[in-house]
């Protein structure tokens, strides 16, 4: 009888400890989130979202920073998704289990834990200086690609691995070529996971500052949102113009801002950033589910 009671007690202690730990994590996260939204949201207004930032006076907005963040994100994903997808397909479907593959995996892991400031300085010396791209959206997007690739590759790899091996066998046994099996059976099954992985990594890109300070720059050229010619220097689509993002804006306003309402602007910008990332995460789940339903039932 004594033993049994002991087991029960141990179980209880373990449960309580686990609940306490989970509670702590939740409290910390909710605290941070609450603080950011609580201090920032009251200052977010339509005016703040739609006007230019100012260098010296109060009441500037973040219109350009918001657009730049989104534009950089889209460009980065356009470059990094195909590469990461290819790498992940190679690693899960084609790579043999040998030292070379293991080395490759280790390198990807190391790369994913590289501090973003290091990636930023690397981007600065390679793209900005060596390739003479100067501070530009393109240099920023290429640097963010470096920053994003390891994590994205891992995410997509995980998604592909959740597809059971029996699915691949079934495809092959049906007389499909290996590529057709991967493309037609494995990829559709893994698609929801892949999309979730992409959108989650998008949240990380969106909030990145250190990698962009020395690549996309900390200043904004005056842009026109009606000029749709991407080669025109004042067009908002021009990829060769310097562009400050939301995250960089927070850092800059806080560290060297001359505007009187710097704290307010930084808080409001942070709130917007967090909300956009939240929207990403929620929509990632919805989009993944939607696409999965679309593929699995009627086409």
């Amino acid at each position: 009888m004594k033993r049994k009671n002991n087991a029960k007690l141990q179980n209880k202690i373990a449960m309580i400890t686990i609940y306490c730990l989970v509670g702590t994590v939740c409290l910390i996260l909710l605290g941070i989130l609450g603080y950011i939204l609580g201090t920032g949201l009251p200052h977010v207004s339509w005016h703040f979202l739609t006007s230019e930032s100012s260098s010296f006076q109060a009441h500037g907005g973040v219109r350009d920073q918001l657009f730049n963040s989104l534009y950089l994100l889209v460009l980065t994903l356009i470059i990094s998704v195909p590469i990461a997808l290819g790498a992940a397909i190679y690693l899960t479907e084609y790579a043999r289990d040998n030292w070379l593959t293991n080395l490759l995996r280790t390198m990807i892991e190391v790369l994913s834990s590289l501090p973003s400031i290091v990636v930023g300085l690397f981007g600065y010396s390679l793209f900005v200086i060596k390739f003479e791209l100067s501070f530009s959206i393109l240099a920023g997007a290429l640097t963010l690609t470096f920053f994003n690739l390891p994590l994205l590759t891992r995410n997509i790899e995980e998604a592909l691995r959740t597809v059971p091996a029996t699915q691949r066998e079934a495809g092959l046994a049906l007389g499909l070529s290996y590529w057709k099996t991967v493309y037609g059976v494995v990829l559709p099954s893994a698609l929801p996971g892949i999309i979730t992985g992409i959108v989650l990594s998008a949240g990380r890109i969106f909030g990145e500052a250190a990698a962009l300070i020395y690549t996309a720059g900390q200043s904004n050229a005056t842009v026109s949102y009606t000029d749709w010619n991407p080669f025109s220097p004042t067009s908002f689509l021009n990829v060769m113009r310097p562009a400050e993002t939301l995250a960089v804006h927070i850092w800059k306003v806080n560290s060297e801002g001359l505007i009187p309402d710097a704290t307010l602007v930084a808080s409001a910008t942070a709130a917007i950033l967090v909300i956009v990332v939240l929207i990403f995460n929620v929509s990632a789940r919805a989009l993944g589910n939607f696409i999965y339903k679309k593929i699995t039932s009627a086409r």
Binding site: R96, D97, P164, T166, Q167, E169, A170, G171, L172, A173, L174, G175, L176, S177, K180, G184, V185, P188, S189, Y292, I295, T296, S297, A298, R299
Partner: protein, 252 residues
């Protein structure tokens, strides 16, 4: 014996240094249902998976001997794997529907093979589902996900998917062992009707099943073929003592 559609001579298969088949020779007459029986680990599944070269997908495998499908050595250099596996289909232990609708599951192999005409696809899908004896159950739900079906229905959709690409031989790797008794008997019914048009080779642990539906039975033990013959004869008058012991449940 009518002409053999698959003729296996002295097949040896080793994974690394571990030889699991020690030289098996077996000929499969066209249009028969052959059951491969034997205790776990006797090499019958490995044997089955050699017939459509699924063992190739396992690394570090060494295969010796010859397997001729309609006179052609399937392990010859330059042998077309895609064509081979279209002609020799396979049904697995677990039902493995693709995560598509029922219709798309059955039509998939055809679409890949380049058939896109809607009417033709419709016709082949219906024909295949009828042959697999599941048409009446799913005809109103063709657009529904195949994953929503019961295990036995999924397995019959998988059989229909194979039939759609018109193979000549279908390999079945314990097709009912993951299913409940009712679903199993439905699959058995399906196999009995398919026997008219296809050569079926089935690994099974279920001796009653082998005796109920197969024409011939091959008994494997420890990587060797012990006995091969007409099912009634083998179950009534096994030639080897060890076969008799296995069939009477003394080991296995």
């Amino acid at each position: 014996m009518s002409e053999a559609i698959i003729d296996v001579k002295d097949l040896k298969v080793a994974y690394g240094k571990n030889e699991v088949l020690h030289g098996v020779s077996l000929a499969f007459p066209a249009g028969d249902l052959v059951a491969l029986v034997g205790p776990s680990g006797c090499g019958k599944s490995t044997f089955l998976r050699s017939l459509n070269r699924m063992n190739d997908e396992v690394g570090n495998v060494n295969i010796q001997g010859t397997i001729k499908f309609k006179g052609q050595d399937i392990y010859a250099d330059g042998s077309d794997l895609v064509a081979l596996r279209s002609a020799i289909g396979m049904v697995f232990q677990q039902p493995v529907p693709f995560p598509f609708s029922i219709y798309d599951n059955v039509a998939y192999g055809l679409r890949v093979a380049g058939y896109t005409e809607r009417e033709y696809l419709d016709q082949r899908v219906e024909e295949s589902l009828r042959q697999a004896a599941i048409w009446d159950e799913v005809k109103d739900d063709l657009k529904k996900s195949a994953l929503a079906l019961s295990g036995g229905q999924q397995q019959r959709v998988c059989i229909a998917r194979q039939l759609a690409v018109r193979p000549q031989v279908i390999l079945l790797d314990e097709p009912t062992s993951a299913l409940d008794p009712i679903s199993s008997s439905e699959i058995e019914e399906t196999l009995l009707t398919l026997k008219r048009d296809y050569t079926l080779i089935m690994v099974t642990h279920n001796l009653q099943q082998a005796s109920r539906i197969s024409d011939r039975t091959a008994f494997f033990l420890n990587g060797n073929l012990v006995e091969y013959g007409r099912t009634e004869e083998m179950f009534l008058r096994p030639r080897q003592e060890v076969t008799s012991e296995y069939l009477n449940g003394r080991f296995g």
